[in-house]
Symmetry: C2
Subunit: 352 residues, 2 copies
């Protein structure tokens, strides 16, 4: 066993850009045996937590990478981690990641950590037990302790659509949320709308903030004052779009158009309008955000801002696999373009 | 290396129910060296295809399982294989599988093989290179050569919602499609509908046939003759529901209600009716099949037959992990109950 591990290590460091470091040197510095370092490298559980932490810190400091560029010692797996697998857009991202990984002979391990520390720790434990060439985190708000453990594992990480200030030193892949928010509201302005409601996403997510800022920038560029009474707070899910729409329509001066900053909220808003006996787009125009496959078939088909979710998944997979091969990543932050898709849910306002 | 592999084997067979067989015996019978058998067992690529086939056949004949019940030699991975990752119901099944596997410390590797032999072979190659505790195939129509290779790999297999006559000797997990089809049409009959259209799924899939037969059984139980002119052929996707609905409504005696045998086809049908200026449910009632999360928010919210997709995923994961531990499976064929969910897309017909 030890021989195989040593071979793995020397093969790995030869091809890499990091300084050469041997398990023997790490063992000496940590004051433990070579087999103990091997056990840590191979993610085995029969090492005390203190020893593991000390060895992993040294491995990291010396730039020792568990998984290296030699084909023989690749795990042939990437991890794709969601908070929850409860949205149709998850499958879009999975599809993109899987397409690239599959071609590269790499399996895509899909996990949900439900924003719970216990679940995230279980995932880390699983990851440690079986190894991974890289981790793609999707809008994951991880606890600091999980960040720290991921850093220790020293596995390449890419973050898709970061939820907040990225605390991990990892490349991030997003969409042009600000430009998309601006395009949505510009479209409604160009149709002649002046009272435009916004159903915003969760305030803690940067993408929500960017969409709101784009909406506001479009209004101000058109000389339309931004009215906080025309903003309802949502959480990206259907039900919050339903209630957000009701709130906006119940106000003293209801909007003639609503930009719902997710497709699911847009569908909820359309249902709220239907229950009020209002037609889309004759009475109220609706613009969504995401362009999920099913909104081509909503009643009416939804005008929305296309977020290239599958392409984001593909780029995330390419990036993490390049990192796993020890290649340099040009840009730590990439935003793919969003695009307005005009369908049947928007029209000029009835009264000019 | 060889020592480690031999240890794996003897640990595995001690706990199992299969007759004890050693790598040495297999090597003698195949006329190859012990290291060659080890290489085959460990899925390494440096063995000729002929030798690999001979050794794998012997391993299978003697009931040698690559992955055994001892915790130490589990791959800690299950494979979940779709034809395509292009439907919101895929994420429901992924969620169910992931929940069970995650708890068990097992990662869920999601793949799409696009019904193409090349892609399926790439997946088999990936699987062979990294090992797996079990494979869950979702409505996958695999080529015979892929069947044969999967058999050779000797890894536990479970099939979810089998697409046709299951050619693999594997447990299958489905839903009560016949009872669901019957419940959908009984609901429409109970509202007073007599001319009930059906948009059927792909004829090659058993689940489509079962839903059609259930629909027909409900009609005949109510004394309503089955009229082939009221059946349109779909493929489970939105667009076929749109065109299928148009076809039914264009007939000489259009239906007052339509059972679309997937939710996506039901949404396509609703859009077709909207474009014709017809209201759901006032002019035409629609029942779907699946109960995808988003149809709670379609306009109007869809009456549908709930297929417990996440539960099917959970049961598939439990079954394949039990097989991986060498446990017996009680029933090779399980159908989970479907359930009618009445929402706002169905009502009594306008004229009697």
């Amino acid at each position: 066993m030890e021989e195989a591990e040593m071979a793995t290590e020397s093969r790995g460091t030869e091809g890499g850009t990091r300084p050469k470091v041997t398990i023997t040197a790490i063992a000496q510095e940590a004051g433990v045996s070579v087999p103990t370092v091997s056990r840590v490298v191979n993610g085995r559980s029969d090492v005390s937590p203190e020893t593991r932490a000390r060895v992993e810190d040294l491995l990291r400091i010396h730039g020792y990478r568990r998984r290296q560029s030699a084909p023989g010692d690749r795990a042939a797996l990437v991890d794709l981690v969601f908070n929850d697998l409860d949205s149709p857009w998850a499958v879009e991202i999975i599809r993109g990641v899987e397409e690239i990984a599959h071609r590269d002979g790499v399996g895509t391990v899909v996990s949900a950590i439900h924003g719970r520390a216990g679940s995230a720790r279980q995932w880390l434990k699983n990851l440690r037990a079986r190894a991974s060439d890289g981790v793609i985190l999707v809008t994951s708000v991880l606890e600091p302790v999980v960040h720290e453990e991921l850093r220790r594992l020293n596995v390449p990480i890419v973050v898709v659509d970061p939820a907040g200030s990225p605390a991990l030193e990892a490349p991030t892949i997003g969409a042009t949320n600000w430009a998309g928010g601006m395009a949505a509201t510009e479209h409604l302005l160009s149709l002649g709308h002046r009272r435009i409601g916004l159903i915003a996403g969760p305030a803690r997510l940067l993408c929500s903030r960017a969409r709101l800022d784009g909406h506001r920038a479009a209004l101000e560029a058109a000389g339309v004052p931004f009215d906080p009474a025309l903003v309802a707070q949502g959480d990206f899910y259907h039900e919050s779009g339903f209630h957000g729409c009701d709130q906006l329509m119940d106000s003293d001066s209801p909007p003639t158009a609503i930009f719902a900053s997710s497709d699911q909220m847009a569908l909820g808003a359309i249902e709220a309008l239907r229950r009020r006996g209002l037609r889309v787009p004759e009475d109220v125009s609706i613009v969504g955000f995401d362009d999920l496959p099913e909104v081509r078939w909503s009643a009416p088909p939804l005008t929305t801002v296309r977020q290239p979710l599958a392409d984001m998944g593909k780029l995330a997979a390419r990036t993490v696999l390049r990192q796993a091969r020890g290649e340099e990543i040009e840009s730590p932050r990439v935003e793919l373009a969003t695009q307005l898709v005009v369908r049947a849910s928007t029209a000029p306002p009835t009264e000019g």
